[in-house]
Assembly symmetry: C2
Homo-oligomer: 147 residues x 2
DNA sequence: CTTCTTGCAAATCATTTGCAGGGCG
DNA sequence: CGCCCTGCAAATGATTTGCAAGAAG
């Protein structure tokens, strides 16, 4: 209940009415705090939870959440994936075998990026960095070592 | 003519017949060596050049070129953009105002990426880094300073 | 009441695929 | 003749939008 209250407050703060679909979607995103979901994932999770929502609503709500800064959208190839915006910026390492996403933050890289942009005459606003590789689990046992 | 010969050879080397559509598309990509084009851009350029090609062919050829390593595909938001593969790896800075794409390579960042991946237990295969910002021209005069 | 939301179905958009005709070895 | 290649139109898949019915303040 406490969490629901918090969600409710966060939605209001974002200028969004705390409706059931929105609360449910936010809840799902929070439950998957360490994962990254596509709109379809969210939709399926809602159905699995016995909710009655339309795909359109999922897309609409996700877009609203993104504008509100509640979540972060990544354009991954052809689909988009979302993750809860938990404040601290970070970049991603993606396992090309099992799809696992690992987050990291490296100050050296961050600083260097600013330097490079500066040298090129750009005022940097944002950046995205994705490393693609094979995680230990997949490499050694062909099984993902983490969730 | 020399260039056409080279293109022709490159296509053959890639295991693709040197057909007219393919030569034309490769030519357009070369003429735009310093730009980055969407499939639609290429298609329009072909039409503008008086060529008779179908969109499907453009997409097919672009995909073949990518598999052959002749070009590099970037997933940009919802559409894909292509650039000629000129060998050296590099990352990109994109001006969010004028769309200009600037390329760069920074060894410090490259090295650090390997380090980070290693620490996380990943064997890195590839990466993409995009810096988004405002270029000098747009910032100062609201006009793009470069092509 | 008035405004914001939602579900459903139809509409888009970029990209892909099925297919019959062509071109070339 | 057989295979690769092309254009066209139809098919996809993800995401969006129009719209009438429903909630929320």
């Amino acid at each position: 209940m406490t969490e629901l209250m918090t969600d409710s407050v966060n939605l209001k703060k974002a200028g969004l009415k705390a409706t059931l679909p929105r609360l449910k979607i936010l809840g799902i995103l929070e439950a998957a705090r360490d994962r990254h979901m596509t709109a379809e994932d969210v939709y399926k999770a809602l159905l699995a939870a016995g909710e009655e929502v339309g795909v359109a609503t999922v897309y609409r709500v996700l877009t609203q959440f993104e504008s509100a800064g509640l979540i972060i959208r990544h354009n991954f190839g052809d689909r988009a994936i979302y993750e809860l915006n938990q404040g601290g910026h970070h970049d991603h390492i993606v396992c090309v075998k099992c799809g696992k996403v690992f987050e990291f933050f490296d100050n050296t890289i961050e600083k260097r990026q600013r330097q490079v942009a500066d040298d090129a005459g750009f005022v940097i606003e944002d950046h995205t960095l994705y490393l693609y590789g094979v995680c230990t689990g997949m490499k050694e046992k062909g099984v993902c070592s983490k969730k």
